[in-house]
Amino acid sequence: MKPEVVINNTELNVKERKSPKLRHWKAFYKKFKRNKLALVGGYIVLFYILLAIFAPLISPQDPYEIDLVNKLQPPSAEHLMGTDDKGRDILSRLLYGTRLSLTVGFVSVFFGAFIGILLGLAAGYYGKWIDTVIMRIVDVLLAFPGILLALAIISALGPSLINVMVAVGVFSIPMFARIVRGSTLSVRKLEYIDAIRALGATDFTIICKHIFPNILSPVIVQATLRLATAILSAAGLSFLGLGAQPPSPEWGAMLSSGRDYLFSAPHIALFPGIAISTLVLGFNIFGDGLRDALDPRMKK
């Protein structure tokens, strides 16, 4: 008894005979590329990452070298962005500061995402009391307004950039937990999860191979947007004097030192602000673009 006809009109042409994974990524890139603004965001982020990597090579001066004679200089050929209240070259300090901001951003988001994903997966997949307990914890963390939770943590651990990473990371956990839980719940309902359960797969296999890859898109989007928030929060904490300590060239701290010279030397506050804004803007529009390309719910 032969099954009637062979139907498969999706002809494979030679060009498409690449690995299926590669085709998958190409399709994604094509979709992403169509969003011009997002591409700009990607380039901005890439630009800053390169600056951070090559900061020692491209910095015109030593970012820590104090030169009190030349303090508070407006931008000039020698100091493209002027000097600060201790005569240090602002451009060089900004370039080195890129490293700090990106590190704080990536480390804290990675930390927050890691714990948040674990909590969200557990809550969404197992449900019942596990879900109740985890979500109550998340509710409590979300009950702290804005960066106040981070402030409380820093007040206990003491001001330092490391503690800022911990604080901002903890502050990110509930967001990730919620998003992952929601996506897990909706993926869990799909029939292919039931099919694979009916085949006898273990919970571990189902979570790792079937749920996790399919909730990754919203997590990546959220992580990108979260990087923007983390960098802003970290700069804010340093601005308050609770993060990076002098003479560290952290952007928020640099900005803070410029506020006393707003009348006489506004450029001290101007340039770090522009640096933070563009980097954050880059992450935000990159994240928006990723969302349009990755998240089917936002499809037009």
């Binding site: 062979v6 299926p20 292919y192």
Partner: protein, 328 residues
């Protein structure tokens, strides 16, 4: 299929199965009520036959299928598969037994992991139950694809590159991969266009003959059910109202609900003239099902006894059981 149905061996026996889903509410998420999705049903499936469950949405037909597969843990009852109670098996044992019970779902878009190629999907099925040694898996996958009428090149492709009908074939191949004995088809052709549906129905029938499969076929489409089944079971609000051979259920339906259901289907056939029983109102909520016969609120032949006493499923003829006070 020379052996009469009654003499065949029972493969699956469902006894007093109940599936209640809690409704949470109140201050701290207490259970305040239950959706009585399946409420005390008993039936069996014989080796090599196709038993269909029909009914409208919310009657509990899909819930029954999921309970048998233990995709949801049933509230009470027993499910004997080849004389072993599935509900008493431990997690590990159950995983091993899953090899014999497979499922094909309705939605061809949701039933395949969008991030796996077809080769991965089928390969994983083979790996989980370890039915084929690693080195033979590729050829086995090609063979499976052949069984369902797809080309071997399909292995390299992702689900979104296939049409609905083709995806359904992949789902069937996945179920076949582990050499199951029983396949539960949960509205397996409902989402397909008529012309594609016919292709898939023919495929299912030919695979059944080829591999001596037993089907539990869940559907709301009586035409499809008539085509594929040996026996038919009609459910209404979590209860079985009638079970019979295909022939007697379509030619001598006894329960008023079955008769109404049959008469409600628009049939494109000029010679097929029928009396029409038009039911009024909607199906009541399964949270608070009516007392007595579940169908009494819509039944055109309702008597006083129907409102208070639950009719039992009784044998009315050979291979015909019905739960109705009026018929018996």
């Amino acid at each position: 299929m020379g052996v009469p149905a009654a003499e065949k061996k029972v493969l699956l026996k469902v006894d007093q199965l109940k599936q209640y889903f809690p409704i949470k509410g109140g201050f701290f998420g207490r259970t305040i009520n239950h959706v009585k999705a399946v409420d005390d049903i008993t039936f069996d499936i014989k080796q090599g036959e196709t038993l269909s469950i029909v009914g409208e949405s919310g009657c509990g037909k899909s819930t029954t299928g999921r309970a048998i597969l233990r995709l949801d843990e049933p509230t009470s009852g027993s499910i004997h598969f080849q004389d072993r109670d599935l509900l008493s098996l431990g997690k590990k044992e159950m995983r091993r037994t899953r090899k014999d019970l497979q499922v094909i779902f309705q939605d061809p878009f949701a039933s395949l992991n969008p991030r796996q190629t077809i080769g991965k999907i089928l390969g994983e099925a083979l790996a989980i139950q370890n039915v084929v040694p690693k080195e033979n898996r590729k050829s086995r996958i090609e063979e499976l694809l052949g069984h369902v009428g797809l080309r071997p090149e399909s292995m390299e492709r992702y689900p979104h590159e296939f049409s609905g009908g083709q995806r359904q074939r992949i789902g069937i191949a996945r179920a076949l991969a582990v050499d199951p004995k029983l396949i539960i088809c949960d509205e397996a052709v409902s989402a397909l266009d008529v012309s594609i549906q016919a292709q898939v129905l023919n495929l299912l029938k030919s695979l059944q003959r080829q591999f001596d499969l037993t089907f539990l076929f869940i559907s709301h489409d009586l035409g499809v059910v008539r085509h594929i089944s040996d026996r038919v079971m009609v459910m209404y609000l979590g209860k079985i109202v009638e079970i019979a051979d295909k022939k007697s259920i379509f030619e001598q339906p006894q329960h008023p609900y079955t008769r109404a259901l049959l008469s409600a289907i628009p049939v494109p056939n000029p010679v097929h003239e029928r009396e029409r029983i038009l039911l009024t109102g909607d199906v009541p909520s399964p949270i608070d099902p009516p007392n007595g016969c579940r169908f009494h609120t819509r039944c055109p032949f309702v008597q006083d006894i129907c409102k208070t006493q639950l009719p039992e499923l009784k044998r009315s003829a050979q291979n015909h059981q019905v739960a109705c006070h009026i018929v018996s």
